[in-house]
Symmetry: none
Subunit: 522 residues, 2 copies
């Protein structure tokens, strides 16, 4: 089927996201990963607009693989200047890449109001800038900024700007929905018209997500004849972000039959998404299409029993195609079939029918009624199941714990925990401080256990969450604590519930270390 | 322009989101808010499927406003059963609502594989179930589960299932993209066909976001003739979620000219989105279309200067239409005008320019950097402003407070607080117990203050919320506590932030009583 060119702008438009700031090393790592996975172009930034991009392009120029794929981004020449005298164009020419993406104004409003020049001069700016870059031997991709807004208000002028770029040698015309306000049918009609009018060049699409339409607008544009898509990993970008390539690419490939990335790269799509969110230091979005943690997670009991008979019943594609996996959640909405599935998944040698299973299910429902939530706390769920089996032994048992918190005038704060545990036939009694009562408890528990289980040292708390379950009870409300723990190789989540936050935290912490020790022993 | 019926399923499909678990009180609060804003239908859940929904519908039946708008959800009768003998249908009839949403199978694969029955029996199940509910005087909305998958594989059978529902009296046919795998052009063609074939009933759309197309598919369906949209606040829902009504409704209203919610409700859309995410205890998604914190945030300097000349340059709509606001991410100016705006809003007689204002602004920024959030805690904000003014006196001052929490083997829990305060020139030193450390603190503080300020007795904690701000610091993370207090006439919210939950709670509690006493004195 037709090839669609894949153009990533995570390092340029994605870096405009509120809260994201890539270092030069981050940009190089991401660029290498994208090139390795077969992205056709990786937009690197504006050369020379800041010291970071200057250094980045310096490194790219010295790397024969990156040079081929990384593009530099910049605007048409300033008004009333010759291209040879325009600093920006000079930087694009000298930065060492083979392809330049040049953006220009399409919308008459912008030409007259933002640039404060004439419609004629803007056409000359486009034509002369493209021609100049071509003379330097560069490939030129032309980004028509605000194309759809311009086309809606003054279609003749919008098309004239494209004509200026094509006549000067641009090989790709990218239609940008810069403000992200266009509807799919508007995009479709405009793309169709441009494809008809400029049959010799590649037409591309660059969509923003301000109306929640970025993915749809991109795919619809390809259906209408575009063969070049721009977007970012995870949809990062200014305001509501750009088109999410993690959804656009599987849609084009698995739903529409186009060729995009090499097929084997798709099985690494989840890995790419998590990797970039890790580098960007942004929490992954669990509901993200295709690649999110929850994208193939099933909660309702009816769904689960149907899926076990026939996955197509509730899965639009096989999750492994994009490197994701099916997850079955255990909750009050679940029935026997969820439990069955979980037991199999956990590889637990327990009868899924009969008395033990009924007992587990009853305990599960009672705990969930109290406010426990096992769908996100799979480690606590596994411990609950194991405790129901014969021969289970706890690695430690609480005798008592006491936490003292003090606040003094002027803001001095102090928290201290003392803890007494039985480990086998030994008793350990110790104390520790912390910056709050739960932190002090955590420190005391570790201190007590480390002498018996040195593996505890490798366990690190990754996330700690508190949810007040029924706020109307005020400070007497029941709280749920979720704790995520990691040991460098895997992470697991445990839960505790009580009107006393110390007790809830104790339950989750105790489960967290118990589970870690169990897995270590296995 | 045409009216599009707005059907919310946050409480049913939204509750399927991984990590979301609404209490009965949560569900009632959200339902009231939606009804108040003019949603046409609020789907409440499956009556009787679990104790929580049973209690919820019990409360709804006693509330004359909710009864009119809340719908109950359930499936067609079981195979080979009479409707009168079907437990699910009985529950739908007896739960006290006026409208029932009944779902049935459209896709032959599901009929034969999941239900394990014949295509004929499935048609009878639909026809007889709808007819039975109609006989009981209920309005029936028919949800055609997996409509688009079924229509793609066996269009005649899919249409026959709709015919069965219509002939038995369903007034709305909702076409569900249950697996979320459909492309906009597929949705458009199928909706068009159904609208032509069933001109007497309302056609609806229920889209899931597995390909990132839920919003687009919903809007495209309306363009193709659907006049009923189903979705959830913030797009919550199983896997990748449902269509986000916070994007669907402004798209239909502001981009396509349909009538949906009353116009004045749109200016509360951001408030609704934040409210539901707060109740669900899910972090708001900053890049969410229309209502996200970043949706109208401008980072690039070029954009900002263009926007100051002409907002249309980089904003697809006026943010205030949906209750959002433009943010410029550089912000000395934005800060001043914010403060000015707030001072006017609170009717505070303070100079908004000059030394005091600059001092307040600096403190505000420092506190927000630490994690305080004053947009939801206006009482703490007002106290901050008043403390900066001359002549302010605190009604009480903390000397020291100490909280002891104990846990013993077997689950015995004990919490005790001692507190020493100065009130004017007197010192009070007392102690109290509670079911957790924060509750003990609350009790001790009340006990200490009541002898001086009997008005405290009327103040009641309405809501207590804890949010961990940076989970990656584990149990040492900074937490934000929000406390809502009421005195029977009004409610107010205060905030505290600290790595120590006791200290954060103390700040919010102390502000809460201080504010209540201040208002009482006025």
């Amino acid at each position: 089927m037709d090839k669609v060119v894949v153009y990533d702008t995570t390092l340029r438009d994605g870096a405009q996201t509120e809260g994201i700031s890539f270092s030069v090393a981050d940009k190089l790592k991401i660029a290498r990963r994208l090139v390795e996975m077969g992205f056709d172009y990786v937009e690197g930034g504006w050369p020379g607009s800041n010291p970071k991009d200057l250094e980045f392009f310096g490194q790219v120029a010295r790397d024969p693989v990156l040079r081929e794929k990384v593009t530099a981004f910049g605007s048409t020449r300033r008004k009333n200047t010759r291209p040879a005298d325009d600093e920006n164009l000079q930087r694009l020419c000298s930065c060492g890449v083979k392809t330049v993406t040049l953006f220009g104004k399409t919308w008459d409003l912008h030409v007259t109001r933002a640039l404060n020049t004439t419609l004629e001069e803007n056409l000359a700016m486009i034509r002369e800038s493209v021609a100049y870059l071509k003379e330097q031997g560069l490939e030129v991709i032309y980004d028509a900024e605000h194309f759809f807004d311009g086309y809606k208000e003054n279609p003749d002028y919008a098309l004239a700007t494209l004509e200026a770029a094509v006549s000067a040698g641009a090989s790709t015309l990218v239609l940008c929905d810069t403000n992200g306000g266009s509807m799919p049918w508007e995009v479709e009609a405009a793309v169709r018209r441009v494809v008809e009018k400029f049959p010799r060049v590649t037409v591309g699409i660059h969509a923003h997500n301000d109306t929640g339409m970025a993915v749809a607008n991109t795919v619809v544009a390809v259906k209408a004849g575009a063969r070049h898509v721009q977007g970012t990993v995870n949809g990062y970008g200014e305001r509501c972000g750009n088109a999410d390539l993690c959804a656009v690419l599987p849609n084009l490939t698995f739903k529409c039959g186009f060729t995009t990335l090499p097929r084997e790269s798709f099985s690494r799509l989840v890995e790419l998404s998590r990797y970039v969110s890790e580098v960007a230091n942004v929490h992954p979005y669990p509901q993200q299409p295709y690649v999110g943690m929850s994208a193939f997670a099933h909660k309702g009991g009816v769904h689960v029993s149907a899926i076990m008979k026939e996955p197509r019943c509730y899965e639009h594609i096989d999750p492994s195609l994009v490197g994701n996996r099916r997850r079955v959640l255990v909750s009050e909405l679940a029935g026997q079939s969820n439990l069955l599935y979980k037991l199999r998944e956990l590889n637990l040698d327990l009868p899924s029918q009969g008395e033990v299973a009924r007992q587990i299910l009853a305990e599960l429902k009672e705990l969930e009624r109290q406010g426990f939530q096992f769908e996100s706390a799979e480690a606590s769920f596994e411990l609950l199941v194991r405790r129901a089996a014969n021969g289970y032994e706890r690695p430690f048992v609480l005798e008592s714990l006491r936490i003292l918190t003090e606040l003094k005038e002027g803001g001095a704060v102090h928290a201290e925990a003392t803890i007494k545990l039985r480990v086998g036939d030994k008793v350990v009694h110790t104390a520790a401080e912390g910056n709050g009562p739960v932190n002090a408890l955590d420190n005391a528990l570790r201190k007590a256990l480390e002498q018996f289980y040195p593996a505890i040292k490798r366990m690190r708390l990754v996330d700690y969450k508190v949810r007040v379950l029924d706020g109307t009870a005020g400070t007497g409300a029941v709280v749920r604590v979720l704790i995520e723990t990691g040991d460098g190789q895997r992470t697991w989540v445990t839960v505790g519930v009580s009107p006393n936050i110390i007790e809830a935290s104790w339950q989750a912490l105790a489960d967290s270390f118990t589970y870690g020790l169990l897995k270590q022993a296995e």
